[in-house]
């Protein structure tokens, strides 16, 4: 019973934070409300006994990714956009109506479904007996999911390289053209200048 009350509290706070995120004019305020939402979602993970994921949610999402966002928001100085119109003039009411319609569809469909558990065997008691949720989680990750795990590291590497290439300063001498074409080897001196 306590779990249900806590779940409801965290769920309401998470949705409220989400609504605040999409309604704030100030990007930094929206970002802080988004972090608030993520922390509430981490609390829901705790309630679900997904302890490792709850910690990762706080460390990676509310920590690393949001710090990246804060850094770029501060870096770009977006204060000037607060005076501009924040929503699409032509489509905002249609978009809101469609969103409410989709939510109604979700609720109607979910109200008509009864789920039956597949009983995979990893009950909290079994997990605790096998050495705790993090140990069981990592066992599953590095046995069944090893190949996807390695692929995820490649995705992160590609994203890192892509981000660096995208934000790399163009050579100031000829702004219109790239310092080197994609696919061509950068010359040694241009590589030195870009560092």
């Amino acid at each position: 019973m306590v779990e249900r009350i806590l779940f409801l509290v965290f769920a309401v706070l998470a949705v409220a934070g989400g609504l605040g995120t999409i309604t704030r004019k100030n990007v930094v305020h929206a970002l802080i409300l988004l972090v608030f939402t993520f922390i509430n979602i981490a609390a829901i993970f705790f309630l679900t006994q997904a302890y490792f994921l709850a910690v990762v949610q706080i460390l990676v999402y509310a920590g690393a990714i949001m710090v990246l966002f804060v850094f770029v928001v501060m870096f770009l100085n977006l204060r000037t956009f607060q005076e501009q119109e924040q929503t699409h003039r032509g489509q905002r009411w249609v978009a809101l109506a469609l969103s409410v319609l989709v939510l109604a569809e979700f609720v109607i469909i979910l109200a008509g479904i009864t789920f039956t558990s597949a009983k995979g065997g990893f009950t909290p008691e079994a997990v605790a007996a096998a050495g705790g949720s993090t140990r069981v989680f990592s066992d599953a990750l590095f046995n069944q999911m090893l190949l996807p795990f390695e692929v995820a590291s490649v995705i992160l590497l590609a994203a890192m390289v892509g981000a660096i290439i995208l934000v790399k300063k163009e050579k100031s001498a000829d702004v219109g053209t790239r310092a080197w074409e994609p696919g061509a080897e950068p010359s040694a001196e241009s590589a030195e200048e870009e560092v």
């Binding site: 249900r4 929206a30 997904a50 929503t87 699409h88 979910l110 009950t123 995820a152």
Partner: protein
């Protein structure tokens, strides 16, 4: 409320309703707002809604694959945030704005 295992304190439906609500909030943010950053935040919100679904069903079906999948979702979200922010930085550098309806140079 749907059927739940005897030891699951929170019905799985609750996770699904919460997830649907967060997802719709994120979708509304993408559709309504003009600011590229708010659109990126809304996409993160939708990804988190999916994560709630996965964790809830992982608990419900007593299977850890759902939780493992959340880790991959987070990796993809991190990659998406990095590339999205890089694109935003480049756009801002070239056009001095981040209002997405102004980026219509490729309109036919």
């Amino acid at each position: 409320m749907g059927a739940t295992p005897a030891d699951m304190p929170i019905p799985v439906d609750w996770y699904l309703y919460l997830s649907a609500a967060l997802f719709v909030v994120g979708a509304a943010g993408v559709l309504v707002r003009r600011n590229l950053f708010i659109i990126l935040f809304s996409i993160e919100l939708m990804m988190n809604a999916v994560n709630i679904n996965l964790v809830g069903f992982s608990r419900f079906h007593e299977n850890l694959v759902g939780q493992n999948f959340v880790l991959f979702t987070m990796a993809v979200a991190a990659a998406e945030a990095a590339v999205g922010l890089a694109i935003a930085t480049t756009l801002f550098r070239n056009r001095q704005t981040l209002m997405v309806d102004l980026f219509d140079r490729m309109k036919g």
